[in-house]
């Protein structure tokens, strides 16, 4: 146990006011089924889900609405029974503020389940189980929305020794994981045991920040008898909940660039994701709801267990509405979140927290000043980058140089922007540079395809020309042969006729 207690020191990171207490006073609330559920088809990393229903269809709770399109994708299910009202482009909670395909369901309020089929995973084997997980709709509920079947399936290539459960919840304001651990700890422990055996891992370590003593108490009591589940307290330093940071804090293993935790025998799941997997395999329930923290400038901050597709304004209303009208809402934490385009969006799998913005969050009086080269950002960077260099390169569109300085290792945690004494929105520059580079590489790929197709077309045209020429030549050759023999025949007939005439003449003489 001695070695297990050791915590490694994280490079960089910041300590800030966590603002978590306000939203943990009351237990998790749930709302009555809303009059309309609006499900975005883009709630996960990867391909947009493929629609399986049409307008007017009657669906049951848990019924498949859209299936995973390919391996890197996730399915979407009906969160309650009802009728499909429309399939159209509506606003989604996305930083772009652009509309995207959504399915609107009008619930019949019966909340009638489709037949649940628990999975006997030991009988059907891990590969079959994983195929079922592909259409379970389960994605990482920590906020990244990475399809979970990819993480379970990964163990075929790499041997997993350790399952790390991410209970750090490092971003300020967010408390949904904390509340989940307090209220659903038994399900969590059962889920951990299940995921551990699915992965074939020998041990589990739960990583939790030291600002959640109640959750720590509850869980450590429950795992007293479990010899292979441990819990480790990590210091409250943002971003300790970032996968690679947490692994380092717990195990002292530095996951190098371009490598993933499974290559080191480690797999990580968020607490909420573990419970979702448990519910799916043991109870046959697909991913239909999540816990959302509503906090900040609202009268009664708290956590809600809500169905996906629930309109956000019904949550805000239930939380007592905004104390001071700002009409601005941030989805995610204050560090990595983004401003919602409008309150007229609905809950998605990635919506872990919505902060109703305080007036001082909006009219940010701190205006950016020029960089004074203090290198505070480099000290704060948890992934050991040179934020100041990346800033220069991104600002001046020198994308190749930015990439050489490992721009894509940046996790956009916002530590650099937070410590910057000149208030430069550094992360915004990195996001800009990243999306420009990605767009350029897509254009390049398309150009390569176009080049291949043109080359092939030229080849095809040449081949066709040759074939046509050959056909023509053959036909001509045939024609000339036929004409010649005809001519010879004619001549012969003529000669024959002449000879006959001469013969006749002779006989006559």
């Amino acid at each position: 146990m001695k070695l297990l207690d050791k915590i490694f020191k994280l490079n960089g990171g910041i300590q800030t006011e966590t603002n978590k207490k306000v939203s943990t006073k009351n237990p998790i609330k749930s709302l009555p089924i809303p009059s309309e559920l609006r499900l975005s088809l883009r709630q996960h990393i990867g391909n947009i889900a493929k629609l399986k229903v049409k307008v007017g269809d009657q669906v049951l709770k848990g019924e498949l609405i859209a299936e995973a399109d390919g391996n890197i994708s996730a399915a979407i299910h009906a969160p309650t029974s009802g009728k499909i009202k429309s399939i159209e482009k509506l606003l989604i909670p996305h930083p772009s503020g652009l509309p995207d395909f959504c399915v609107t369901i009008v619930p019949d309020k019966k909340d009638q389940w489709i037949k649940k089929t628990p999975i006997d995973w030991k009988k059907i084997g891990i590969e079959e189980t994983n195929k079922l997980l592909l259409n379970s709709g389960i994605v990482g509920l920590g906020g990244a929305a990475f399809p979970s079947h990819l993480k379970i399936g990964n163990n075929r290539k790499n041997l997993i020794n350790t399952l790390i459960v991410n209970a750090a919840e490092c971003e300020p304001y967010i408390t949904c994981d904390d509340m989940l651990m307090k209220e659903r700890s038994k399900d969590l422990i059962e889920g951990i045991k299940l995921v551990q055996s699915l992965l074939g891992a020998k041990e589990t370590i739960i990583g939790i920040e030291d600002n959640k003593p109640e959750s720590y108490e509850i869980i450590s009591k429950l795992i007293l008898k479990e010899s292979n589940i441990h819990i480790k307290i990590v210091p409250t330093i943002y971003p300790s909940g970032y996968a690679k940071s947490l692994i380092f804090l717990i195990n002292g293993i530095k996951i190098s660039k371009e490598k993933l935790p499974p290559e080191y025998g480690i797999q990580m799941f968020n607490v909420a994701t573990i419970i979702a997997i448990y519910k799916f395999i043991i109870h046959g329930e697909t991913s239909l709801s999540r816990i959302v923290t509503i906090t900040g400038n609202v009268k009664e901050p708290g956590n809600y267990d809500v169905l996906f597709g629930t309109p956000l304004d019904s949550l805000i209303k239930d939380a007592g509405g905004q104390k001071i009208k700002t009409n601005t809402f941030i989805m995610g934490g204050p560090m990595m979140g983004f401003k919602l385009p409008s309150i007229d969006v609905s809950v998605t799998k990635t919506m872990n927290c919505v902060i109703s913005a305080e007036p001082e969050m909006i009219d940010n009086k701190k205006e950016p000043l020029p960089c004074i080269r203090c290198s505070k950002c480099a000290e704060a960077c948890p992934v050991s980058l040179q934020p100041q260099e990346l800033y220069w390169f991104s600002k001046s569109d020198q994308f190749e140089k930015a990439q050489n300085y490992n721009l894509f290792d940046c996790i956009e945690c916002g530590c650099c922007s937070y410590v910057c004494p000149s208030n430069i929105p550094l992360v915004q520059f990195y996001r800009y540079a990243k999306s420009e580079i990605i767009a350029e590489s897509i254009i390049k790929e398309e150009a390569d395809i176009a080049r291949d197709r043109t080359d092939f077309r030229i080849l095809r045209l040449e081949r066709e020309k040759k074939e046509r020429a050959q056909r023509n030549a053959e036909r001509r050759a045939e024609n000339t042969n036929a004409e010649k023999s005809k001519l010879i025949e004619e001549k012969r007939a003529e000669i024959k006729a002449t000879l006959e005439r001469i013969e006749n003449n002779r006989e006559n003489e």
């Binding site: 652009l98 205006e367 000043l369 520059f429 398309e446 043109t454």
Partner: protein, 188 residues
């Protein structure tokens, strides 16, 4: 005297052999400079540069027959990249060849299409699907937006539609913020 001649002769033979060997062994297929130019060009295959495609234009640039500023789809960025590669000065896009437009793709009005196959023959990347007297359609993914299918169409049923920004192709914008003015006292 003789030894020095022999040494030089010997060296010449050795070097000659090495050079001869490497010229066969490490022979470069194709013309690398043409390929480099071609990789900068956007592969729209539109022919606005007065050459029948991107490769012929690349060949002409390499030979010195064509200027680097004749490709509107490549835009200013393309001209800059070409200038850097060829070691010449940047010059603005030649307006004779047209202006840079946002990328769009062709769209066939399937109600009007008579199935004449003329657009299929014009498409430089075989991105139109159809057959004689059958309805034609564009394979969106393959269309480069070259507009070469527009003029052959006898019923004018092809229109260019710009690619709209959506949640998938959306990009983070360049951060714009006002810089605060610091008031300073000026002593006269």
């Amino acid at each position: 005297m003789l030894t020095s001649i022999l040494i030089i002769l010997f060296l010449a033979i050795i070097i000659g052999l090495v050079l001869g060997f490497s010229s066969v062994k490490f022979k470069v297929e194709g013309n690398p400079i043409i390929d480099k130019i071609d990789s900068i060009l956007p592969q729209t295959q539109c022919g606005q540069c007065n050459y029948p495609g991107c490769k012929p234009y690349a060949t002409a640039i390499a030979k010195g027959d064509a200027d680097i500023n004749q490709c509107p789809p490549g835009g200013e960025k393309g001209v800059r990249a070409l200038a850097e590669l060829m070691g010449v000065d940047y010059k603005p896009l030649n307006e004779e060849h047209g202006a840079t437009k946002p990328k769009s793709i062709a769209f066939i009005d399937e109600e009007t299409c008579i199935g004449c196959t003329l657009c299929i023959q014009a498409c430089p990347v075989d991105a139109i699907l159809g057959a004689t007297k059958q309805m034609h359609t564009i394979i969106e993914k393959e269309c480069t937006g070259c507009e070469l299918c527009l003029s052959p169409c006898p019923v004018d049923c092809i229109a260019m539609e710009p690619i709209e920004e959506n949640a998938e192709n959306w990009k983070w914008k360049y951060p714009v913020y006002s810089i605060s003015t610091i008031k300073t006292k000026v002593n006269h």
